[in-house]
């Protein structure tokens, strides 16, 4: 009697295994969606789930893929990092999906990675991140640091004459790494150590009074000062509110952010923030017909004209389109075949150019700098002349400058050490 629930549980588990094994004889190609729908990350990730569902729907309207319909399998890893690994395993072994679109935070990707490599799954990761990774089983369609941070700093130096730097971030690996890279980069350019202030705050930090006041003090030392912000997600709203309230205008101390996009700004009134900056590979305000088409499609799908688009959505869009092309080219959804077919794929990006998948599983993308407007959109004030190829291993970190990722034959290695000529880590 006592153990009935366990027995039932077990029999359920066994039964569902059997059922799903039977179900794969069916036709559809399965697309796994591994984005948090509850918990702290739901704010950001729900949109990406909807984007994938929209792309699947659109692909099905266009006749499916390889003559088979696509079927999205959505699970909720609930912003719980171990659960990401468990759900990835569920998607790959129980649902037997052919591809996964998912993850937002680095830790969730790190959690999923061993599962993907063990089961030889395929995942598209659509968010800007700290780099220092290249897995055979992951395609990184967001920006690497050299596609966001470095051009942003160049812009501030060259166009605004910034000489003093505040590197403010949330205390986790993306800001830590980005700031390490930027610090090394700035020192290389001759910026003195006392002209760099580094500050870390915990997740969801909400009381920014002292820090903003410190930034003001730091910025009143006679040199043009800028803040490079890698502050994560929901800590940004109170941060920007405090900036506005304490009267830090973009003319005095501009703030350039790498994690603040249209969606984050839609949560609050941006009029005190006009002129603060963000660096991304895409903005909703991009003036290109392909972008307008995408926005129209999104609005039609979600049924709300006020919903915005953002960079991770574009990354998801590019990733999805590329995967479709690669599957068509390979004629199969087999992971190894698709992985090889992915390299060199090109897709029209939403800013009017072309995205190319490089041999290190990172994209070539344009870098855009935008200024916040009072309607929560960005005005593009600068962009790179061409596209910048994503660099998996930063050239500015001592531990990784000799590393190289190349997944094409004959090297097929994610972390090839050019000095010792060896491939460390997992070898395929």
């Amino acid at each position: 009697m006592t153990l009935k629930p366990i027995l039932q549980g077990l029999s359920f588990a066994v039964a569902s295994t059997v059922l799903s094994t039977a179900a794969i004889a069916e036709d559809p190609i399965k697309v796994g969606v591994l984005h948090s729908l509850s918990g702290t990350m739901a704010i950001s990730e729900t949109t990406l789930k909807d984007t994938v569902l929209m792309m699947v729907e659109q692909q099905n309207e266009a006749g499916g893929l390889l003559g088979r319909p696509l079927e999205a399998v959505v699970v909720d890893p609930a912003s719980n990092w171990p659960l990401f690994a468990e759900k990835a395993r569920e998607l790959l072994t129980q649902e037997e999906v052919d591809v996964i679109f998912g993850s937002w935070t680095s830790v969730s990707r790190k959690s999923v990675l061993p599962v993907l490599e063990e089961l030889n799954g395929l995942m598209f990761y659509p968010v800007q991140y700290e780099g220092e990774e290249s897995s055979k089983n992951v395609f990184y369609t967001g920006a690497a640091p050299n596609q966001q941070a470095i051009p942003a700093v160049d812009y501030l130096r060259n166009e605004l004459g910034v000489e003093r730097w505040v590197l403010a971030g949330t205390d986790y690996v993306y800001p830590r790494t980005t700031n390490k890279i930027l610090e090394a980069y700035l020192m290389d350019l001759g910026v003195a150590e006392e002209d760099i202030m580094i500050n870390y705050t915990p997740f969801s930090h909400s009381d920014w009074q002292s820090i903003v006041s410190d930034i003001k003090t730091f910025g009143s030392a006679g040199k043009k000062t800028a803040v490079v912000s890698t502050i994560n997600g929901d800590a940004n709203v109170p941060f920007y509110k405090e900036l506005g309230n304490q009267g830090v205008s973009s003319a005095d101390i501009p703030v350039i952010a790498f994690s603040v996009g249209e969606e984050e700004l839609s949560g609050f009134d941006t009029s005190p923030l006009v002129g603060h900056l963000a660096a991304w590979n895409y903005f909703q305000s991009v003036d290109a017909d392909v972008n307008y088409d995408f926005i129209d499609m999104w609005h039609a799908y979600i049924g709300d004209e006020d919903r915005v688009t953002n960079d991770p959505m574009e990354a998801t869009y590019i990733g999805f389109k590329m995967w479709v092309q690669a599957v068509e080219q390979a004629g199969t959804t087999d992971v190894d075949a698709v992985e090889q077919a992915m390299i060199g794929q090109t897709v029209a990006n939403l800013s009017g150019g072309t995205a190319v998948m490089n041999r290190n599983h990172h994209l070539s993308k344009p870098v855009l700098i935008g200024e916040i407007q009072d309607d929560g959109q960005f005005e593009i004030v600068w962009q790179t002349a061409g596209v910048v190829p994503g660099d998996a291993w930063s050239d500015y970190l001592p531990g990784s400058k000799m590393l190289l990722a190349d997944w094409s034959a004959p090297l097929k290695c994610g972390n090839y050490n050019t000095e010792t000529g060896t491939c460390s880590g997992t070898v395929y």
Binding site: S38, I43, S206, Q209, G222, G267, G275, D289
Partner: protein, 535 residues
């Protein structure tokens, strides 16, 4: 082909500008406007300089519209449009003729873009244009916007204006500007040093920046010394005001903690319910603010006055509902209320996620809460923090009055101290329980209105504050409202004075460790409840 022709035309127009400028200012102004629609960001400033030089009467309004980011042009004929957002709908006007037109699609208009450099130029240009404005505030702001960009001609202009000026604020701004000008570029060292002395009484960051610059880069050693002395004097004051600032930050953080915790001081402190759904009551209050603002667009300034009672009612009703449906069955089992309310908090979060989407909602700040009370250039108290501090105290006093002076308060205390005895005395304990829980939840809802002005309004709002709230109530002593007040401000101030020394995270950790150790010393908090009701 068409495009090429158009480009050629524009190029012609640009080319012809200088020659026309000499003869006919209006046509040149029009041509410059045309050029404005064609120029890229780097080429815009020279055009704007030329526009300013024309002295055309429209320049001020043109620059203002441009600075506000409202200047667009129609792609078809390059006519300038002003697009202004009035209560959520865009109103399109032809800029020069002033005639209203039908809204156009986003593919048909293009914006005249400005970046930070242009904004700096525009605001100083507007400053120059407004030096003779009739409003003293505008005049003063105009002078201050010129501080760092003052050239000889404008300096002379300012000196001339100073003679006619009677307003003290404006005079002080002009003096500052002139002193900065002479400190930088006076002919004699003596004049420079006099100017530096004047600056040593000023706290404006621009003046400090200039002094830093002089200290390092001035040619004459006497000037460098004077700058050092002036900076020392200024730094002393800045440090003092820094402490005042920190104290204010601490009080402000304390007031936020108080607002977050005060509802819990009732539901947990007085009723003994370990209310894990308390955070969700805060969240409901914040969402009520959002809905109220949605229902009354255009009245954002008054929305909070509606939102406060509305949030009280909404959260209060939810509280009563929870009490009637769940908590009343759990009397005498306080630790089990934890489980039930934890379940309720999950349900409420998901409810909000389903109804309002998981995205954060935009809650606007009323005008009277934005900006800051500037006591001097280094010490300004932001109005929203100030308002919330005062608001927290008002809510606290009101709650204290309810608990101490009203019949309900008496019943509540009676029931919480001895339920059976209270029942025997004829108090309807059931009703009192429901009303108490409703009161606590309603107060939490009001706290949520205040939080909506500071942080994200999203499904996770409550979770961010629940732990802090429990710490405050326990630290102050369960069941003691005054304890909650003292605890909130103590923790707030301690946090803010630790932060500069240890960093944010360590400060929070130290405060937590302090609470743990404090509870060892006084196991019932700051103000322990006396008597048998304590357990």
């Amino acid at each position: 082909m068409k495009q090429a022709l158009l480009m050629f035309g524009c190029w012609l127009a640009l080319w012809s500008t200088p020659t026309v400028a000499e003869t006919d200012t209006t046509s040149s102004y029009d041509d410059l406007l045309m050029a404005l629609t064609e120029a890229d960001l780097n080429a815009t400033q020279p055009i704007l300089e030329k526009i300013e030089a024309t002295g055309h009467p429209e320049v001020l309004s043109l620059f203002q519209t441009l600075l506000d980011g409202n200047l667009h042009f129609r792609k078809a004929d390059q006519v300038l449009l002003s697009i202004v957002d009035v209560n959520g709908t865009d109103q399109y006007t032809e800029f020069q003729s002033g005639t209203a037109i039908e809204p156009l699609g986003r593919r048909d208009v293009s914006k005249i873009r400005v970046n930070n450099n242009l904004r700096n130029f525009l605001s100083s240009a507007i400053g120059r244009l407004q030096l003779r404005s009739s409003e003293p505030d505008l005049r003063s702001a105009a002078v201050l916007s010129l501080l760092t960009t003052l050239d000889a001609a404008t300096a002379d202009d300012l000196a001339e204006l100073r003679r006619e000026e009677s307003n003290r604020t404006v005079l002080s701004s002009i003096d500052l500007a002139l002193a900065m000008y002479s400190a930088r570029s006076a002919n004699t060292v003596a004049a420079q040093i006099t100017a530096i002395d004047t600056l040593s009484d000023r706290l404006q960051p621009e003046a400090r920046n200039l002094l830093f610059d002089l200290e390092r880069n001035a040619d004459n050693p006497a000037v460098r010394e004077a700058a050092t002395a002036a900076l020392k004097k200024i730094d002393g004051k800045v440090t003092f005001y820094g402490y005042v600032d920190q104290l204010f930050f601490g009080l402000s953080l304390g007031s936020v903690l108080l607002l977050a915790a005060i509802g819990l001081a009732i539901t947990f402190g007085v009723m003994g319910v370990i209310n894990m759904a308390h955070g969700e009551m805060l969240m409901l209050g914040a969402y009520t603010t959002y809905v109220v603002q949605l229902l009354m667009p255009g009245f954002i300034n008054y929305s909070l006055w509606v939102a406060i009672p509305a949030a009280f009612i909404v959260a209060g009703l939810f509280g009563i509902l929870i009490e009637r449906c769940v908590i009343r069955f759990l009397h005498g089992r306080p630790l089990e209320t934890l489980l039930a309310t934890f379940g309720i908090s999950l349900i409420l979060q998901q409810l909000v996620r389903t109804v309002f989407s998981p995205l954060n909602r935009r809650v606007a700040a009323p005008d009277w809460m934005s900006g800051s009370l500037e006591i001097n250039p280094v010490l300004s108290l932001t109005y929203n923090r100030l308002t919330i501090l005062i608001f927290a105290l008002i809510v606290f006093v009101a709650l204290l009055v309810i608990m101490k002076k009203t019949a309900l308060g008496l019943y509540v205390r009676a029931v919480s101290q001895n339920r059976d005895m209270a029942k025997a005395m004829g108090i309807k304990t059931d009703r009192v329980d429901a009303l108490t829980f409703g009161l606590g939840s309603g107060i939490a809802g009001i706290g949520g209105v205040a939080l909506s002005q500071l942080t994200n309004v999203g499904p996770n709002l409550g979770q961010a504050y629940i732990i802090d709230s429990f710490m405050v109530v326990v630290f102050g002593g369960v069941g003691n409202l005054l304890g909650t007040l003292v605890a909130a401000f103590t923790l707030g101030i301690a946090n803010k004075f630790l932060e500069p020394v240890t960093g944010t995270v360590l400060a929070s950790i130290l405060v937590l460790v302090f609470i743990i150790l404090f509870i060892q010393k006084r196991p019932k908090g700051l103000f322990p409840q006396r008597g048998r009701a304590a357990e």
